[in-house]
């Protein structure tokens, strides 16, 4: 090798959204450093929101301009293709919405350093001080979420993974109420996250060992040429899978989800349940079909088992949950399973799979927005000690505030996939894709896909049970004497719930526009 190193070329235009978000994040840190305490919030809020919206606008512009690069940007490190842009858009909307929620008073601890119940804490609360670092942290996390599904080599992906996760670890620990739980969640998430990312990295190393490169394009080339049964490759594939599946919370790597979702401040839970999931699924798609597409005969059967297990665990365990946030966590596990069905379906050789790809993208959009809405509602049902998580406290909510309960019930029905809600079309699209690919001649699984879909159907029937159970509680049972109070929602929260509701209803009635969007995004497939 000669010593000459050419200067790398960076497509700033294409990367603009990403850069904007990261830039704003850095700016946020500076604000933390220099702006006076009383001003910070006033600066952060618009900065964060504007940067997110701006980034979203940039994404729109790129889409409208339409001339996507044939090859990955930044020396093949970042692939900015249809799916990536779609996911970026989704992530940006979600994070913007979540920021509205985050901005509400009373979610975050006054001073994380202060011991719960200590005098410092009281003073801090009295002083009304708060952690404005939250905003830059969120921005970093969002940046990570954008980079994660877009990164075109395993290194970038690893870095993105960490950039996404590290801020979230911290944010999980910053709940104002029930701080012990919050901190516990944070620690568990951190340790397990680090643990799993170590697996990811080792997997990457193995694959590097096999292919001599970590760029997905290179890997798939290598797969195209050499023998596919190299144990290095298999181990690498497995460990890589561990890291990714951990992030989307697929069984048997789902253990962290309930705990973390429950302990974390609800707005952050919303961000994780929506944004992280979207990003992670995007990353899974990219790795498994761009990098390892030629290996599908090996990984699809395994993925089949994982998907099945995930759906079952998620929906069965949710039945007996008594904590609303835990229940939603399990439900998100079940939905991860449904998404994996989509991932399974998306194997066919280039061109064939755009259908199922768009199905997944559609599912991600509608599901994540409904989720955010649901968590937003959770933030409003309060007890003296904070949010009322225990389901028994939700009894008779329909009597006390019919509108809120009605909205929540609607979200639940959407989760359950009842027709005329967005959730139904999400499920429908994924199932259709799966059956479709199963029917394709030369599908490695064939009839097994039908089996998986039937399993999915049964799972969603089981899942329906616990969604319905909450509705029963809210509407059919008499209110508890000292029922929870319904906080007067801030403009932000109202906006969040409204957006979520509009999408859930609107897409439920007229899914075609969103479908077109997803189809368009999927039509180009991934850059290889």
């Amino acid at each position: 090798m000669n010593g000459v190193i050419e200067a790398p070329t960076i497509e700033y235009g294409a990367l603009a959204p990403l850069l904007l978000v990261f830039g704003a994040a850095v700016l946020g840190v500076l604000v933390e450093a220099f702006a006076p305490r009383y001003l910070r919030r006033a600066i952060h809020m618009p900065l964060t929101l504007l940067s997110l919206l701006g980034a979203f606008a940039l994404v729109i512009v790129t889409v409208v301009k339409g001339d996507l690069a044939e090859t990955a940007a930044a020396m093949g490190a970042v692939a900015i293709d249809g799916p990536a842009l779609f996911i970026w858009g989704v992530v940006l909307i979600l994070s913007a919405v979540c920021v509205l929620m985050i901005n509400d008073e009373g979610h975050f601890v006054a001073s994380a350093a202060a011991v719960p119940g200590s005098s410092e804490e009281e003073e801090a609360e009295a002083a009304g001080s708060e952690h404005t670092e939250i905003y830059p942290l969120v921005l970093f996390a969002v940046g990570g979420m954008m980079l994660f599904p877009a990164s075109n080599d395993l290194l970038t992906m690893f870095v993105a993974l960490e950039v996404m996760s590290l801020p979230l670890y911290l944010l999980c620990g910053l709940a104002r109420r029930r701080r012990l739980l919050s901190q516990e969640a944070s620690m568990k998430y951190f340790l397990l996250g680090a643990f799993s990312s170590a697996f990811f990295l080792y997997g990457a190393a193995m694959i590097y060992g096999f292919a001599g490169t970590v760029s997905l394009t290179g890997i798939s080339k290598a797969l195209g040429t050499s023998g596919l049964l190299d144990p290095l490759l298999m181990i690498g594939l497995a460990l890589l899978g561990v890291g990714l599946l951990f992030k989307i919370g697929a069984a048997p790597f789902q253990a962290w989800k309930p705990d973390v979702y429950q302990g974390a401040p609800t707005p952050i839970t919303a961000l994780m349940a929506s944004g992280t999931l979207v990003a992670a699924v995007g990353a899974v798609l990219r790795v498994f079909w761009v990098g390892l597409g030629n290996l599908d005969w090996n990984w699809r059967p395994v993925m089949w088992a994982v998907a099945a297990l995930t759906m079952i665990i998620g929906s069965v365990l949710a039945i007996t949950q008594t904590d609303i946030k835990r229940m939603l966590a399990y439900s998100s596990i079940a939905h991860a399973g449904f998404l994996l069905i989509g991932v399974m379906a998306t194997y066919d050789k280039a061109g064939q799979n755009s259908g199922s790809l768009s199905a997944i993208l559609f599912y991600l959009l509608v599901y994540s927005l409904t989720t955010v809405g649901a968590f937003a509602v959770v933030t409003l049902v309060r007890d003296p000690g904070g949010e009322a998580w225990h389901l028994s406290r939700w009894a008779g909510l329909g009597k006390r505030s019919p509108v809120l309960a009605g909205v929540f019930a609607f979200f639940l029905l959407a989760f359950a996939g009842i027709p005329l809600t967005s959730g139904f079309f999400g499920k429908y699209a994924v199932f259709t894709a799966a059956l479709g690919s199963g029917m394709e001649s030369g599908d490695s699984l064939g009839g097994w896909m039908t089996g998986l879909v039937v399993l999915g159907v049964v799972a969603s029937a089981v899942a329906a049970f616990f969604y319905v159970r909450v509705i029963v509680l809210m509407f059919f049972s008499e209110p508890a004497a000292d029922g929870p109070t319904i906080a007067v929602p801030s403009m932000g929260t109202v906006a969040v719930i409204t957006v979520a509701l509009l999408v859930t209803v609107g897409v439920g009635l007229f899914p075609q526009p969103v479908l077109d969007l997803a189809n368009q995004a999927a039509s180009g497939l991934f850059i290889r």
Binding site: V457, A461, F475, F476
Partner: protein
Amino acid sequence: MSSLWLPILMAVPVLGAIVVALLPKGSDKAAKQLTLAVSLVVLVLTLVMAFQFPSASGERFKFEAVYDWIPSFGVHFGVGVDGIALVLIALSAVLVPIVVLASWHDADGVRTADGTLITPKRSVKTYFSLLLVLEAMMIGVFAATDIFLFYVFFEAMLIPMYFMIGSYGGAQRSYAAVKFLLYSLFGGLLMLVAVIGLYVVAGKGTFMFPELVGVIQDPATQKWLFAGFFIAFAIKAPLWPVHTWLPDAAAQAPAGAAVLLVGVLDKVGTFGMLRFCLELFPEAAKAFTMPIVVLAVISIIYGAIVAIGQTDMKRLIAYTSISHFGFIVMGVFAMSQVSQAGATLYMVNHGFATGALFLAAGFLIARRGSPHIADYGGVQKVAPLLAGYFLIAGLAGLSLPGLSSFVSEFMVMVGTYSSPAFGSGALTVAAIVSAVAVILAAVYILWMVQRALNGPTAEPVKAFKDLNVREVAVLAPLVALIIGFGFFPKPLLDVINPAVTQTLVNVKVDNPAIAEKGAGQ
């Protein structure tokens, strides 16, 4: 090509529902009157449409309207009616105003004759707007000519009914509501798989029913898809052994909702069998006929026997319906002109008869606050009108000749016995066995009458007031229809017969009835 009849027919109640829901607080009375008005408008429109039906254009489906809904799924908002759908839509349109009138006070706290409160005050507006939404969906489910659209209504219908049972029903309401929802949802999801499968296998890129008839050829595939559809429908039109949700749901639902549940919603199941199971998968349908007829006969006899043993009026009526649905299913799968026309007619008549019975029982229960037959006795003496209507409804339930249900039951049995579709004597045996239900029916109805209406007047019954004007206005039309169609079923049959003939053509059973008698044309 596209007529606005059906879209309007569905839009009116939806708009009505929205308006009712948006009424200001405390305008309960207005809500009731508005709902009644809307439902009457729908009824009038339906009747006008029905009278135009014979002259309307279109081969199989008339008043067709097809708009793209979700092009990328090949889903259309496609509606249109054949004779079968028409009579069922008419049934719903007739029942809804009656139900509205019947449940006038259901939501504002029901007090018994001696003034004890049975059900507390609940939101009136919600109840009646749900009712209207349900009406729109009932019309839609029968009118849909796009299978996906049918499925959407099929599932979405559950929700309003779920809330009507769950928040306005009796003591066990939430258990009943959940059972009802999950049972039907499960069936519906299996059907969803079949629907998707149909779409994928047919590879037509469309869900329009007419374009999918006769597309699936491979028998094995047919059987799988048939199973998917049939299980859903069997649960919906409770067929033994997946029937147990109905007694709970019907017993817990307020009388009005129970009428719509048993009278219309369950018909979607039998309607689906006739329209979809048979025509889309004829080979499978023929292959499965015998087992299904056996199940039907079991339902007939089993339902009747269990009904005899009930102590709760509404449960009893529910079980009689299970028996009656057995007849309908038997008629559908006997695959003869007479039996299927009879089955379709049965769907309508059963709606009227059981509706009347549920409502009469409801009025009885509203006075006493107990569904237990043992708590009554000697009603005849104090409330002869109520007793009289109850008796007539009961007689319709045991399909006494001269009342509408007799015609249909007779046609089903004769049609099954004489079905040319299958050489085997199994169908004749089925018909004979099912005729035993004629005896059992007399037992369960008359025994209930004897225990509830006859004998010395029980103490709490003495306080009963006889039917008031509203209640008479509820029951009288039904009784009129029951007697009227008992002697002049021709108008209905003339509409039904051609549609049935068409069905049988698509199922490709040799059917002499089409040639000469039976087709009625």
